[in-house]
């Protein structure tokens, strides 16, 4: 089928619009794709030395994604119909051109179709594609991409950029990232078995610098706070009222300790006078021990004062706030503990590298290893043991508590820590209950005592029951009144 001049012109017009649409799309997406690629390079440059292969992957992915986007856009040249629709819309041609393109593409015949195409041609004749479908340069995007490109080039080439990159490297990671990276470096260094002395020296210097940074980041106040809380835990562990809180504190479970304290605050309205008095003493002691902590110490102190003044509700509120403060300390102290672990590991690494002699200022690094929870397993040794007696009285509130193997409650409900002497000649006891028996035992001497284990009295046999002669009774009842 040969196309008429009108049809040729229409298609030429539509193709021009299609090209412009593609150009517009590409100009819109292109700078973003290039920007993405440059960003990948930039990130690679910054993190490259730290991450090695991972950085290379980031760069490749960044560049690849950008290019893929551009290529996918380039492949998607809008079709004639899409371009015609845009042309109709742009020039308010009321779907003339798109209908004409449809008629031409489907080979529609007839006078009406021909007239419609001619009509579309007449309307599109004077159209200037440039004005109808304006393509504006995305100067803002291009400017941003240019700036990013310049930044990447400067970072890669110039000495200032190199310095800046080093500064960025040092500020990019968090404390843990830094120490983690150092760990990775030292591991790789050890595995590689560098023989070059100069290289080893520089690595050692780097390790020392990292150690200094970590030590600067360390928070001695947090350590003091932790020690104070542990001491408080040891103190309160034996309290009849606050022992749950004390136990969790001593074990270093600050979140659980906060929960225990919260429960204590909630239970306060139901406490009796003795418990309140005991709690007040515990809180006063807590305030003394945590006096260095301006927040926690003050909250304990306020709670104790409120209790002393008989203001239970205020005391409960203070205690709830103290519980919140203890809960907030948990992540801080955990982070500090992690930091100390890293410092210890780094000190060990430096010690190993320096040979047999220890580095000045790193003595006792083994002792600072927080790998084992401080305080656990030692308290028992400080308290006198007094045999294996258990007082199952429980607290006055009637709570059922699980006591540890080395713990017992005295008559006042206070906890005592006992030490079991392995050499003590304790009389053996058999706690296995005898089997419950029915109908007695043939050997009466072996029958268990009912008072001790719950002896079961056998029921009489049903077969032994006396029968009732009901027939006679009924017959007597309905007789003529002559009763025997």
């Amino acid at each position: 089928m040969t196309q008429t001049l009108t049809e040729v012109n229409l298609f030429r017009l539509v193709r021009a619009v299609s090209r412009r649409m593609w150009l517009k799309d590409t100009l819109r997406v292109g700078p973003r794709a290039i920007g993405l690629a440059l960003l990948g390079i930039f990130v690679g440059q910054v993190l490259g030395p730290r991450l090695g292969t991972a950085a290379a992957v980031v760069v490749v992915l960044g560049v690849g994604a950008g290019l893929a986007l551009v290529i996918s856009r380039a492949r998607r040249m809008p079709g004639s119909m899409a371009a015609a629709i845009q042309l109709d819309r742009g020039l308010d041609l009321k779907e003339r051109v798109s209908t004409a393109i449809h008629l031409v593409e489907t080979g529609a015949e007839g006078a009406v179709a021909a007239e419609q195409i001619a009509d579309a041609g007449r309307h599109a004749w004077s159209v200037e594609v440039g004005s109808a479908y304006r393509v504006a340069m995305p100067w803002k995007d291009l400017g941003a991409v240019a700036l990013l490109g310049i930044a990447v080039a400067l970072l890669a080439v110039t000495p200032i950029g190199v310095g800046l990159r080093e500064a960025l490297e040092s500020s990019v990671g968090t404390r843990s990232e830094i120490s983690g990276t150092i760990d990775a470096d030292t591991r790789s260094g050890t595995a590689g078995g560098h023989s070059d002395a100069a290289l080893a020296e520089s690595e050692l210097d780097e390790l020392k610098r990292a150690l200094e940074q970590l030590e600067i980041s360390s928070n001695p106040e947090a350590l003091a706070q932790r020690a104070a809380l542990e001491a408080l835990g040891q103190e309160l562990r034996t309290s009849s009222v606050s022992r749950g809180f004390g136990r969790e504190l001593e074990d270093g479970n600050l979140a659980a300790a906060a929960a225990e304290l919260g429960r204590l605050a909630e239970a306060m309205p139901e406490m009796n006078a003795g418990e309140i008095e005991k709690l007040q003493r515990d809180l006063e002691r807590a305030a003394e021990i945590t006096a260095d902590d301006p927040i926690l110490g003050a909250e304990f102190s306020r709670a104790a004062q409120s209790l002393g003044a008989g203001q239970r509700r205020a005391a409960g509120d203070d205690l709830a706030r103290a519980a919140e403060s203890v809960g907030q300390l948990a992540p801080v102290l955990a982070a500090e503990e992690d930091l100390q672990e890293r410092i210890a590991a780094l000190e060990r690494e430096i010690g190993e590298r320096e040979g047999a002699g220890g580095l000045p200022g790193t003595e006792g690094s083994e002792g600072t290893d927080p790998g084992s929870p401080a305080g656990t397993g030692e308290l028992g040794g400080n308290l006198p043991g007094a045999g294996l007696e258990s007082n199952a009285q429980g607290s006055e509130r009637g709570e059922i508590e699980m006591l540890g193997l080395d713990e017992r409650l005295d008559a006042a409900g206070e906890l005592e820590i006992v030490r079991i002497d392995a050499t003590e000649d304790a009389p053996p006891e058999d706690f296995a209950p005898p089997a419950t028996q029915l109908n007695g035992d043939p050997e009466s001497s072996l029958e268990p005592s009912a008072g001790d284990y719950g002896y079961v009295q056998p029921l009489p046999a049903i077969g032994d029951e006396l029968s009732i002669d009901a027939g006679g009774v009924v017959a007597d009842y309905f007789s003529d009144g002559e009763r025997p």
């Binding site: 009321k94 798109s98 004409a100 009406v112 579309a120």
Partner: protein, 330 residues
């Protein structure tokens, strides 16, 4: 092609002349007049709704007067029987004394039929009209009679007086291509109406088109091409009236019980073709579809109780549908 160009020009001329001629008598109601003419040229029927006294009957009479066609008016009442509108078979005696059955055609055997107050007739009579509207035939005593083309039913109904009326069933409503609403005139229009009707001066309507013209225009309208993306737009609008459709707007989901049928989509496209031709175009645009959306679909939406309770009508639902459903490239 020259013939086609001439036909298109003639279409425009006749359409404009009809509009002008009706406008000489009817004050205002331009949109209603335009929609009624579109319905006529698309070969459909129209239902006109409006409160009493707004000139519905006058409007239909004027349109019929501008057409050189056979016109009949039937006043629908509860005692109107089907035979009264379709015609009946009577015994006729010849001069020689022989008697034979002869079919006496009813008022439906006209080109333009005004079914005034259609909802006052019983369903039986309404059903008789239904066959004529749908199939352009009338069956009496087992004999089917073909109605002349063009056949254009213009029915009027009053929305406020419900006592003693028989609301048109949905099946019959669906047979109308358009439902046209006639509203109150503006102040200026009312002044003009008073000036024309209270002075004794009467405006005669000239006949500007005959049956052949109208049939030719109906045929030409059906030949107008429509691009696939415009058809898809009409389909999207129709589907958006279905409450269960994924793309239905909130109003349709909330207030519509049953949406428009495929006949609604046909009405949209057919009427849009006429609208395009009237505008001097041989292609349908999105604008044409939107122009005929309300009259083509408003009577095909069955609203639920919630809509009734909240005073929501079909037009407001269609308005939201048109706002939410966008054409391709839009």
């Amino acid at each position: 092609m020259a013939t086609t160009t001439k036909a298109i020009e003639q279409f425009q001329q006749v359409a404009r002349a009809l509009r002008d001629e009706v406008g000489r008598v009817i004050v205002g109601h331009e949109l209603a007049v335009d929609h009624l003419l579109i319905s006529l040229l698309a070969g459909g029927h129209s239902l006109i709704e409006g409160v009493p006294g707004l000139g519905k009957t006058m409007l239909v009479r004027t349109i019929a007067g501008a057409l050189d066609l056979k016109y009949a008016r039937v006043q629908f009442t509860p005692d109107l029987m089907p035979a009264d509108i379709t015609g009946t078979t009577i015994i006729r005696e010849s001069e020689s004394g022989t008697r034979r059955f002869e079919f006496e055609a009813g008022p439906l055997f006209a080109n333009v039929v005004l079914a005034d107050e259609i909802n006052r007739a019983t369903p039986k009579t309404q059903a008789a009209l239904l066959e004529a509207m749908a199939e352009q035939t009338v069956t009496v005593a087992g004999e089917t009679h073909r109605l002349e083309s063009p056949f254009y039913v213009l029915a009027t109904q009053n929305p406020i007086e419900m006592e003693g009326t028989y609301p048109l069933p949905e099946a019959q409503l669906d047979r109308f291509l358009f439902k046209v609403l006639v509203g109150y005139p503006t102040g200026e229009e009312l002044e003009e109406i008073l000036a024309r009707t209270t002075t004794g001066a009467e405006t005669a309507v000239r006949k500007v088109a005959n049956g052949e013209d109208i049939n030719g225009m109906i045929r030409l309208a059906r030949e107008v091409p429509i691009a696939p993306h415009v058809t898809r737009y009409a389909v999207s609008l129709t589907k958006a009236t279905h409450p269960e459709d994924a793309d239905a707007p909130t109003a349709a989901r909330r207030f519509v019980r049953y949406g428009a049928s495929p006949r609604g989509a046909q009405a949209l496209v057919l009427a849009a073709k006429v609208a395009a031709l009237s505008d001097g175009r041989l292609n349908v645009s999105f604008e044409d579809i939107r122009y005929v959306l309300a009259p083509a679909l408003r009577h095909r939406l069955i609203l639920n109780f919630e809509a009734e309770a909240e005073g929501v009508d079909a037009d407001s639902v269609l308005e939201e549908i048109a706002m939410v459903t966008l054409p391709e490239g839009g």
